[in-house]
Symmetry: C2
């Protein structure tokens, strides 16, 4: 996958987020050689959006020798369906229904294109360039606004029979728990996303009376970063929020391990930058709850993808795998 | 896998249970041509056990043209490790520690042998001869004394990095729930195994005061079959036990679906014979709790392996895949 492609030495990566769409040219060693972006929400029509991207992307491709030098393009997008190359009913994107984005780009650029959801793209990126190099069985968990996941088993991304496998953010951890955006209750992401951490902060501030640096911030403005900053200063309430979050995430990981017995679980995304404040409680909860045969076997790791490049890199890794016939 | 092997038209299957060890010769169409058994607990030494099996198995092999006609042997065993061909610390078998059973049989019989846990063997059997023919993504759940599972993704059994993946009976469904044999609390199998159903019956009989046919049986003697028999006669308490069991199993399945988005979940084993009494509550709980993108997609099926042959058939299917070098 990372062997040198003399004829076609580059791939394109594109990460479609609710706010920004970032894209770039990547070589086989994982160097992002050029990148640019557009504002996703600015384009109500998919055609305008594609046009705006191509206006920047086509000259970028030309700079590297044209489409003939590009092995493929990988796109990471919310609700991306790998099998169909479509984005399907993505709640935080402007275009409704089913968008056949892979084939739109293929036609427009003449470059074979594969598309998957953003967490799967991150997992492929990690396997190609990051902490999961050489691993055949691991789980990538992205801790951002929501909680996403990309699962690799026997060296292959798990897409499931319909292309939508790996929604570990929507595993139910407490059936009577917090309402989730998906319409159900107690999903993992209501506790363990950046938003979930802020929600926990607001709950703790009401339930408890002890002093905390977080009391200096208007409750509705608290973000997970504020909790981190307070924890760094030794704030007890903030530290307890990480304990609470890590315990729930660790208990969930115990069940994930019983499913696929991965070599590692790798955390990625804004909240993962909390480092040991989050990782130690996760490890503790795993150690206390793991089934004996799995004890001490699964490593907990942080993503090794360079922050600024991670989104493009992750998606681009899919570009090495895409088949021209697709 | 099921193509005709002119040179080596047969495989051997062996199912090692806590009570019986059943073995037999199987052809490529899934016909069990001969079978026999020994009592597992009768042999404290592994050598005696292997000798007792070979005394019956060697003449059986000779009857079909000798080891040259046998493509391979598949063994299903509790705590079977596929990668090493070993049985490791099986609590309900007489031999302690790590038993390299695959290589013992390979040497003794001159037939390439693969070994996996019994639920994985059932999954391979179902894929080769049963309800999962043609499926690339499904989960097999065995409902017996315990709850086991075999997970197939991209057409391959999921073994995990250590060979022990797929312990869905030990997914924790209620952290403050029933004590489990594994030392933890609230594992799925404490509710949804045959033993779990009997446990629920005893709980319900104490908690409730309404009449029930089950009150005619001494509480400690109640088995899941008694609950089934009472349900067939319309006994309300027995029906409620199935509702309770099916709901917990269905809620667990919702999380399994979020992991691998399987085409089907297939139930196998004694308790699965309860049919609609159990399947309807499972389906209801799934419909009520499923994440929207998965709604209505995953089929619930019962195993199609013939009962008497299922154990041998399941294990034998592994015999087609085994590599001579192993």
């Amino acid at each position: 996958m990372t062997t040198n492609n003399v004829e076609k030495p580059y791939v394109l990566g594109m990460d479609i987020g609710g706010t920004n769409t970032v894209f770039g040219v990547v070589d086989s060693r994982g160097n992002v050689l050029a990148s640019d972006s557009v504002k996703t929400q600015q384009y109500e029509q998919i055609d305008e959006y594609v046009e705006a991207i191509c206006k920047k992307l086509v000259p970028m491709i030309a700079q590297f020798g044209g489409a003939d030098k590009i092995k493929g393009m990988g796109v990471g997008a919310p609700n991306g369906n790998y099998y169909n190359g479509t984005i399907e009913f993505a709640p935080n994107l402007p275009w409704k229904g089913v968008i056949p984005l892979a084939s739109i780009f293929e036609e427009r650029l003449g470059i074979p294109t594969a598309l998957t959801n953003d967490a799967n793209a991150a997992a492929i990126g990690e396997m190609t360039y990051g902490a999961a190099r050489g691993m055949k069985d691991f789980i990538m968990i992205t801790l951002g606004t929501g909680v996403g996941s990309g699962i690799v088993i026997n060296g292959q991304l798990v897409y499931g029979h319909d292309g939508f496998a790996g929604e570990l953010g929507h595993v139910i951890v407490d059936r009577t728990g917090r309402p989730c955006g998906c319409g159900r209750k107690g999903c993992l992401e209501t506790y363990c996303s950046a938003t979930g951490v802020a929600r926990t902060a607001r709950e703790f501030l009401v339930q408890r009376t002890d002093p905390s640096l977080l009391r200096n911030i208007p409750a509705e403005e608290i973000q997970s970063k504020d909790v981190y900053d307070a924890a760094v200063k030794g704030d007890k309430l903030a530290l307890d929020i990480f304990e609470f979050t890590g315990r729930i995430l660790g208990e969930a990981c115990v069940n994930f391990i019983a499913f696929s017995s991965p070599e590692a679980i790798i955390f990625f995304g804004g909240l993962a930058k909390s480092g040991d404040y989050l990782m130690k409680p996760i490890q503790k909860a795993i150690d206390e709850n793991i089934l004996k045969i799995y004890a001490g076997k699964t490593k907990l790791l942080l993503s090794q993808l360079k922050d600024a490049d991670a989104a493009v890199l992750g998606a681009s890794a899919l570009g090495w795998e895409v088949k021209p016939e697709q």
